[in-house]
Amino acid sequence: MKYICSVCGYVYDEEAEKIPFASLPDDWVCPMCRAPKNLFVPEESEAREPADEPQEAEEYHDSRKLSPGVLAAIFSNLARGAEKQYRAKEAEAFTAIAAYFTRHSDSGDSSSPEAIRALLSDDLSRGYPDLRKKAAAAGDRGAARVLVWGEKVTRMASSLLERYEKEGEAFLAGTSVWLCTVCGFIYIGDNPPGICPVCKVPSWKFTRIE
């Protein structure tokens, strides 16, 4: 039997490893991305794709009602776009608008690790499957691509919060937190991984959180 890491795709092959997956200790983590044991899924169940069902036509809601937080992400992304095209002045202007919306973004009532994890869990159980279904129905490969990394990165972030809730400060004492600046994957360790387990960029694309 094989078990697949739902974050990075690492395959744990019981036959090759000689240890049944179930016998691995609870604190065993993925050797590639350090995802916990509970994020591994048996190989068979992975291939299960939701069947395409006819979609009810849905109207687009008013885009003028985008939240300040979403507007901040739109403008910081446009700043990146301008920078890629070597348009420094335009990048600076987009960054100024992004900073304005970041200042005005609303964090709601609670900012506890539990509240953040609840949001991420909801994205994983509803938001991402919904987008997957809609992207498949529309034959939209770009939208399908965006889910692949986002979902894995979100799964990892959620599991790190869960671990922090259990272990507290001891979990992060004396070690570093690394962020992949391309896909947003978070890694805990003394050194960054050789390549990003999610988007496969080299280690120098990781930044250490100070």
Binding site: A73, Q85, R87, E90, A93, P113, A143, Y164, V177
Partner: protein
């Protein structure tokens, strides 16, 4: 399609062959940025560069794939949730007295922003040149959400970036702010040359 040369300063090792080969002097600048007004797009500099630091980029980028309403809604819903998580993590990081939690929250803040950016890139805001990006900027300038909105930056964007997926018909405009009359060419975003007003502040004449 017209292309122009741009230099990536992260790769440039100052061998300066581009300076030597360019027939038009476009690479001969003080600030290391190739002069787009002199560049004819011949590509000789890009071929000569031993560091591979010069790329030929299109002057007009192709329009982005059209999105269905269902996909747009699903993307924006997720982006909303991710940016809410980002704001919560930012607050948690600034309020936390614990070093480990502070670092984890900073990472989640950064991670959430990257994921939201990627979502909105796919949600029709990929290119600075897109009508979506420029219309959004223009709408914010017309009706700023609050007094401290950086209007100068929005004007700067609208005056410097030409839309790639909508053909402005061009023509004569009168600015309703300062009453200047001016003309804009086809494909150019009309901006008042005197006071930089745009959008609904301009009437066609």
């Amino acid at each position: 399609m017209k292309r122009i040369a741009v230099r990536n300063l992260r790769l440039c090792t100052k061998d300066c062959l581009c300076l030597y080969v360019c027939p038009y002097g476009a690479t001969d600048t003080e600030d290391s940025i190739i002069d787009a007004s002199k560049c004819t797009g011949c590509g000789i500099c890009a071929d000569a560069c031993p560091s591979g630091a010069i790329s030929m980029v299109p002057e007009d980028y192709p329009p982005q794939q059209v999105k269905t309403d269902e996909v747009k809604n699903a993307i924006e819903k997720l982006a909303y949730s991710r940016t809410l998580a980002e704001a919560k993590a930012r607050r948690a990081a600034s309020e936390s007295g614990k070093d480990g939690l502070r670092r984890l929250m900073k990472a989640i803040e950064g991670s959430s922003r990257l994921v939201a950016e990627d979502l909105m890139r796919e949600g029709r805001y990929m290119l600075p040149q897109s009508s979506n990006a420029l219309d959004l900027t223009s709408a914010l300038l017309d009706d700023p959400p609050s007094k401290d909105f950086p209007e100068e930056s929005a004007r700067e964007i609208l005056s410097r970036i030409r839309c790639n997926d909508r053909k402005e018909s061009g023509g004569s405009y009168r600015c309703s702010v300062c009453f200047t009359e001016f003309t804009a060419d086809e494909g150019e975003t009309p901006i008042c040359p005197m006071c930089h007003a745009s959008g609904k502040d301009l009437e066609t004449i």
